[in-house]
Amino acid sequence: MILGEVKVLVVEDVEAMRVQIKSLLRTFGLPKVTLCDSFRKAAVALDEAEFNLILCDWHLEGVNNGMDLLHHVRSVDKLKPIGFIMVTAEGTREMVIEAVKAGVDDYLLKPLTTAQIQDKVYGVLLRKKVL
């Protein structure tokens, strides 16, 4: 698949962050980006369309958080292959280890830089053989 065809789902509860992540992804050739602010909306989006990569914040609007979405993705057969990067300011060792154990593909700590996000996104897409 060529880079421009990669479909990315960004799940983040802060609107300004969502917009910024989308803009960062566009700058390095990923225009197909869908934005959601909650677990519920993300689950609907995943049900209705195909994605190659999810960038998800740990804390989301509503009862369910990013870890719940990670568990959901890893428990549904058709979603299992999707790359999952946690994008968060949550750097507590215990919680990061929990995410790694649950099957996160990579972890981005805020503040995000273009180089950092590019490196992690390409890394996961290559490991998942999307590119």
């Binding site: 802060v14 962050m17 804390h59 300011a89 280890i97 805020k110």
Partner: protein, 145 residues
Amino acid sequence: MAETIKEFVEELSGFAETAEKTLAKIESDLLGERALFKVFSERMLAIRGTALQLELPEIAKIAGLGEEIAVKAETAETRAQLRKCVGALWDALTTVKYLLQNHEEQTSEEREILIRRLEATLEAMGGARPVISMEELSELLGRRN
């Protein structure tokens, strides 16, 4: 860029309002509403993450201290500890709100004193939770991959 910062700050101010209502509710029933410290700490985390992204380090620092103190408050053993945490959280929140409205203002001695006081409160409650380093994270992920 200035417009982006303005939008960010407006959104963060909304989070601060939520945190304020939560803290007022906790204060009305320290033991009964202590589970709400989680809501407070999550709002502080959201403010910290976005402030880091915006390169507003002082807001990020104070929100981070508020986040950690709120986490400790969830399991505080005595009413005195709870009261101390709530007092510290009001100070942190009031300052975050002020700084959101005046984010171009330089660091003041008064705020440095507040930061030291919040750090002392956190230390007295057992200190912040350990964070992971990028090296440790890479090693963890590398081992799994």
